[in-house]
């Protein structure tokens, strides 16, 4: 296996997978994979055939009824698509995570953020995914994916092409139909247009690789299109179903954006627009990007254009100095089992404050209805103390990122460092030196577990010392610190970015103590965040600390964020496919192969399970990081007045189901 190169591996696994996926598709009853059973145009897929039940409750928010009466929008029947998405218990998130009931209309959801460009809760609310994997951060295979904005997809036999089915009659928030033209415009006129996109991203290239051949797009009809790659590649399904995937990865409101696109706009008007923006004409692509708010889903607070059409539950209404408001999208395509059009809540309002303490203050005084990003375990006692007074409930949920996981830069040019840190005994010794349970108790208030299941190291200072002795670091200096291979006292520089998480400093102080107890001199230093990132790019860091999406791997290996990719030169080698950087050690290369393979969605469930296990084995054997704690939790704070709030599962996944939240009477 070790002799096999990446391409062989992928080709083989693709061949092996081709048959199995088709079989799997034919077998399952999952709505997404019903598409292959139904010949396009022959019959409506089952998910959409469900008739909307008739009930006495008003099917739309009174706010919209008023707008219909005043004539500013058409009646509900004309706004809803023929193929609505019906939300029942378990549709958006498994029913064991939330006691779902049909909600009622009205109210304003209040958020608070201390960033001038990002309000994470608002992002969660309006990230409208083409496909979903309910309750999961990412799907492990195409079989776990179910419809959302898109009705379904069909994979061809050799897995080079995917036929996508859009919901008939879905409309943008301005009432215009959302069709394959919006997809064609985005792919051909934006992603493939070198004035706007100098280099097309790897999502539209074979095998999700920067060096891959460009995808071809074929428009079948208004609601069906086909994407084809030169090699077997199913990564688009993965891309469009992850928790942070979004409609903006596949389409744009063509009818609106054409006025800012040189190929479509009236030349005179367009020139005036560019002049007004004080851009040279050659840079019209930059002007297009400035106007394209679809790309601002993450930095939503910087959205400026209330007319920009979206397909999300809420759309931008007003931008103020310290407050932005989003209001319900009258054309939203989801309805509940009672026939009520989602979302239940009329408006979402984000207040921007100057610092995270001000957010905490507002949470405590009940001025925030939903808080995820700024909720922190460090403040847990404070939240609990004021729970009744502030009128909120704290749900302890799973965290989608490992808050603190130190990764080594195996490629720092310091030879002495490389020699020590590339010795697995050193990495094991450090992890063994940590009293994990104490970390969990003191830093995480007892929530969380020791990371034994992942790295296999249990707290044992003597064993740690023995490992260090064994690797030849048995000599000590006058202060009792171990001597490195170069004959000088070895120093572990625990340099970390400032302000990363509130608990970082206290945790690092504990770590310094544990490491020095076994004789490894440790220097803990906070470095300004931007400087830290720059140093990392220059390969000057020793230890890397950034949000690690380790939790993603619980479902399947993912390429997005891997243990070895913060070793700068290895990362370059991988990104440039060997043209630059330095060839990684075998285990690191293998981790990448595994993740890349899993990411293509070409493997059968058994194969995914096999490489998944292999990934855990490699991590346990090579312990590429310092992991002080596992199963980190997140205090998710919601007003007691909110209904349909999940109490279990991933915090971020819960936050993504805001269209079914409602205010109880």
């Amino acid at each position: 296996m070790a002799d096999m190169n990446r391409r062989d591996f992928l080709r083989l696994s693709a061949l092996a997978a081709a048959g199995t996926v088709v079989v799997a598709c034919a077998k399952t009853e999952a709505p997404a994979t019903t598409a292959p059973e139904t010949k396009p145009g022959e019959a409506e897929p089952q998910a959409t055939a469900t008739p909307v039940p008739q009930v006495e409750a008003a099917p739309e928010s009174p706010m919209l009824t008023d707008m219909v009466t005043s004539g500013s929008i058409p009646a509900l029947e004309e706004r809803l698509p023929q193929e609505t998405m019906v939300i029942d218990a378990g549709t958006l998130i498994p029913s064991d995570m939330v006691d779902w009931v049909p909600g009622q209309f009205g109210g304003t959801m209040r958020f608070c953020t201390a960033r001038t460009d990002v309000c994470a809760e608002l992002y969660d609310a309006n990230c409208e995914q083409p496909l979903i994997a309910p309750g999961k951060l990412t799907a492990a295979s195409a079989a776990e994916v179910v419809p959302s904005l898109f009705k379904g997809f069909e994979i061809n036999d050799d897995q080079t092409s995917i036929t996508w089915y859009m919901r008939k009659g879905v409309r943008w928030s301005d009432g215009e139909p959302c069709t394959t033209e919006d997809v064609r415009f985005y792919v051909e006129d934006v992603a493939f247009n070198t004035d706007i996109t100098p280099t097309t991203g790897r999502a539209f290239k074979s095998e999700n690789k920067a060096s891959g051949d460009l995808m071809t797009l074929e428009i079948v009809d208004d609601y069906t299109f086909k994407t084809t790659f030169t090699l077997p590649s199913l990564h688009l399904i993965s891309n469009y179903s992850g928790y942070s995937s979004d409609w903006q990865g596949i389409m744009r409101p063509a009818h609106y954006m054409r006025q800012f696109h040189k190929d479509y706009a009236d030349p005179a008007t367009f020139k005036a627009l560019i002049d007004e923006a004080q851009l040279p004409e050659a840079e019209w692509g930059n002007y297009y990007l400035q106007r394209d708010e679809g790309r601002l889903t993450w930095t939503n607070v910087t959205s400026q254009d209330p007319d920009y059409p979206r397909v999300s539950p809420w759309v931008l209404e007003n931008v103020g100095t310290g407050v932005i408001t989003w209001t319900r999208n009258p054309y939203y395509y989801k309805v509940d089992t009672q026939g009520q059009q989602l979302p239940y809540i009329d408006k979402e309002r984000a207040e921007i404050v100057a610092n995270s303490e001000a957010v905490t203050m507002k949470i405590l005084s009940g001025e925030v209805d939903w808080a995820r990003e700024y909720a922190s375990m460090v403040n847990y006692p404070l939240y609990m103390e004021n729970e009744a007074k502030g009128g909120y409930k704290v749900n302890i949920t799973d965290m989608h990122v490992a808050p603190l996981q130190f990764r080594f830069n195996f490629t720092n040019p310091d030879q002495n460092w490389q020699q020590v840190v590339r010795d697995v005994r050193f990495r094991k010794a450090l992890n063994t030196a940590i009293d994990h349970q104490k970390v969990v108790d003191t830093i995480y208030q007892g929530f969380g577990t020791p990371p034994t299941a992942i790295i296999g190291c249990e707290f044992d200072p003597e064993a740690a010392a023995a490992l260090l002795d064994e690797m030849g670091m048995d000599q000590k200096d006058a202060d009792g610190y171990r001597i490195g291979p170069d004959g000088k006292t070895f120093i572990l520089p625990l340099e970390v970015p400032q302000g990363y998480t509130p608990e970082l400093d206290s945790l690092c102080e504990l770590l310094v103590e544990y490491f020095q107890d076994v004789g490894v001199k440790t220097d803990f230093k906070n470095i300004e965040a931007t400087l830290y990132e720059t140093r990392h790019t220059n390969n000057d860091t020793f230890v890397y600390l950034g949000w690690a999406h380790t939790s993603f791997w619980r479902n399947a290996p993912r390429t997005s964020d891997f243990l070895q990719d913060r070793s700068r030169l290895w990362q370059l080698w991988h990104d440039t496919q060997g043209a630059e950087g330095e060839e990684p050690e075998e285990w690191a290369k293998r981790l990448w192969e595994i993740a890349d393979a899993a990411d293509t969605f070409l493997l059968s469930e058994d194969e995914v399970a096999a490489i998944h296990q292999e990934m855990w084995d490699i991590i346990k054997e090579h312990v590429p990081m310092i992991l002080p704690c596992d199963n980190a939790v997140y205090p998710l704070i919601g007003s007691t007045k909110l209904g349909n709030v999940p109490s279990k599962g991933w915090a971020i996944v819960a936050s993504f189901t805001q269209e079914q939240f409602y205010f109880k009477a």
Binding site: G322, T325, E533, D561
Partner: protein, 330 residues
């Protein structure tokens, strides 16, 4: 006098140019740029990695791919024409961003200033005239405490007391429902309700400092022979005080106008961050942190210009108030 003013104004122009160059260099000095931070934040949040090509594309979008001198020239040229550039972080024109915040900043600083002058000058005079009386000791103690307490700490303490004792968050300049409301009487009233706490907190350090200065200056004057002469001639105590020593003792305060102007603009940044005030201070702070260079550059340049103008005004005022100042060269 006119010649004096003209000469000072002409001197200010090259000075401002040098300042603009230096402030731009200072902003560019830290390694990395806005994108480094943006990319890190994006990757952390979404779990998606941006490719080198995508980063290069963004860098071009923000104009960060040009060499430093080109960026400076482009910025300063636009600045002179009144275009302050576009903020990366807010995705809006800098001028729009500042226009929203300047009125509030000026309002709050003016209230704080009026508060500190109104309190400090009478107390300073009183302390000097009744030196070593009980009140002098009380005010002196208060003055030293006020000087020694950082105002942001005071802000934190006040906020905590307000929350734990009275159950309201003393932060911000408006109640939630008024933050974005159009101007109305209700909104003005709401602002007036929120204004005293930040104004007093910002003003308190200055008050303590002013009391000390006023007291010291006046004591110096009171011991001078002309005071004794005036008193011997039978001038009433009040008239004597206000007519001569106080007038002279106030001179050093006038020279502080030079720093007051930029303060009016940027306010007290730390207090504004702690109290969550929508003033210019926090914008500058965040812009410096995230290397949002057009915002930071514009604010720094405006601040420097205001310092220069403020110094000019205080020089002119002093020359006008105090006939002892010579206007000629040398």
């Amino acid at each position: 006098m006119v010649q004096y003013i003209v000469r000072r104004v002409l001197l200010a122009i090259p000075l401002l140019f040098v300042i603009s160059l230096i402030s731009y260099m200072v902003i560019e000095l830290p390694p990395g740029d806005y994108l480094v931070q943006y990319v890190a934040s994006f990757e952390n949040a979404t779990g998606q990695r941006l490719t080198q090509d995508e980063i290069a594309q963004l860098r071009a979008l923000y104009g960060l791919d040009r060499p430093i001198y080109a960026r400076y020239l482009r910025w300063i040229w636009n600045f002179v024409q009144g275009n302050l550039g576009r903020s990366f972080q807010y995705n809006r024109p800098v001028s729009e961003l500042l226009a929203e915040r300047i009125p509030l900043t000026i309002a709050i600083t003016l209230v704080a200033m009026v508060f500190s002058w109104a309190v400090a000058i009478p107390i300073g005079i009183f302390s000097a005239v009744r030196q070593y009386s009980v009140f002098d000791y009380i005010f002196t103690t208060f003055g030293f405490i006020g000087l020694a307490t950082p105002s942001f700490l005071l802000a934190l303490v006040v906020m905590w007391i307000a929350f734990s004792r009275f159950g309201f968050s003393a932060s911000g300049l408006f109640s939630s429902e008024f933050i974005d409301a159009p101007w109305s009487w209700a909104r003005v009233l709401d602002l007036l309700k929120h204004l005293p706490i930040p104004a007093v907190i910002i003003g308190i350090g200055g008050t303590a400092w002013l009391i000390r200065i006023m007291r010291g200056n006046l004591l110096d004057e009171l011991r001078k022979p002309y005071v004794t002469t005036a008193r011997a001639k039978g001038l009433s105590e009040t008239r004597l005080l206000t007519k001569y020593p106080v007038r002279i003792a106030i001179n050093p305060l006038i020279s502080t106008i030079g720093w007051t102007l930029p303060q009016l603009f940027s306010g007290s940044t730390l207090v504004a961050i702690v109290l969550n005030l929508q003033t210019v201070g926090p914008v500058l702070f965040h812009a410096l942190l995230s290397q949002d260079m057009y915002v930071a550059g514009s604010i720094l340049l405006i601040l420097s210009a205001l310092t220069v103008i403020g110094t000019l005004i205080s020089d002119i005022l002093l020359a006008w108030v105090d006939p002892r100042i010579r206007l000629g060269g040398g």
